[in-house]
């Protein structure tokens, strides 16, 4: 099985699809999980963790902040870039997510261009791959 570069964690299938299209533009294959717990289970089953996780905040079972906190405790996920993608846009919430270990933060609604710019900031966009 080929290496998967992104995990998309959102309880909305529509949002996962939008994210899948966007990371596809920078050549990333993706797997999907509908909440934080499902994402952790999925990650544990993978041979090599993906480079990127795009994470919704408000989800049933395990929310995005809990997921980030849990993943940051695991050395094997140290290289994974964590990006919150959420409607939570109070300053204090962004600070909390960054403090928990998220690398970047994208507020919904976002355009495809804005998301790719954020991924470029994180060094995840190969030269010439952005639109």
């Amino acid at each position: 099985m080929s290496h998967v570069q992104a995990i998309l964690i959102d309880d909305s299938r529509a949002m996962r699809l939008i994210l899948r299209r966007i990371v596809g533009q920078i050549g990333f294959d993706a797997v999907e999980a509908e909440d934080g717990q499902a994402a952790i289970d999925l990650l544990n089953s993978m041979e090599k963790p993906p480079e990127l996780a795009l994470i919704d905040w408000n989800m049933p079972n395990m929310n995005g902040l809990e997921f980030v906190t849990a993943v940051r405790k695991e050395p094997k996920y140290r290289e994974m870039t964590l990006v919150m993608v959420t409607t939570e846009s109070e300053q204090s919430q962004i600070v909390r997510a960054l403090a928990a270990g998220a690398h970047e933060y994208v507020i919904k609604p976002f355009t495809a261009g804005a998301m790719i710019e954020k991924l470029a900031l994180l060094g995840l966009v190969p030269q010439g791959a952005s639109s």
Binding site: S12, A14, L17, I18, N58, M59, P60, K108, P109, T111
Partner: protein, 162 residues
């Protein structure tokens, strides 16, 4: 921030415009055309209602209402498929996410300390909130079908502790 009663309709319009330009109308060709005449708004028929509840320092609901053709077009745009391929489950998911995004952005303009519930989508009759009243509404047409976004405030709940 002293007046926490509701958002202004301009704020709701800005949120809606941002959602449309991000997902439903990225080329800026078919935005939601707002309607302000009360008579025209009253004539709009909606039978799909997606909502989130807001609790905490402010109590209420944000409802995104539309009809089935609107939900189909909306899902088609979100999911990059043709409107006639859109199924029931697609519409539920997309409208739910729409309510989540609009509701989340509404929340960000309320006093800190509010929480947004996961979205609920119902078809048929509009959800009824006996102890709440509509405090802000934006209605419009998108591709000639109605969208109505309404913010309901629970009575006597502004500033109430969580």
């Amino acid at each position: 921030m002293s007046d926490v009663a509701a958002l202004r309709v301009e704020d709701l319009h800005e949120i809606v415009e941002q959602v449309w330009s991000s997902y439903l109308d990225p080329d800026g060709i078919e935005p939601l055309l707002p309607i302000f005449s009360e008579e025209d708004v009253a004539a709009l028929k909606t039978d799909m209602h997606a909502s989130v509840s807001i609790t905490g320092t402010w109590h209420g609901h944000v409802v995104v209402a539309c009809n089935e053709p609107a939900a189909k077009n909306c899902s088609a745009a979100f999911l990059a498929m043709e409107a006639d391929e859109v199924g029931e489950e697609d519409m539920m998911d997309v409208l739910g996410e729409l309510a989540n995004i609009v509701g989340g952005n509404v929340k960000s303009m309320l006093p800190p300390g509010c929480f947004v519930s996961l979205p609920t989508v119902v078809t048929g009759e509009a959800p009824h909130y006996p102890s709440a009243e509509p405090v802000c509404q934006l209605a419009g047409l998108w591709k000639e079908d109605p969208f109505v976004i309404t913010m309901w405030q629970s009575s006597g709940a502004a500033g109430e502790a969580a």
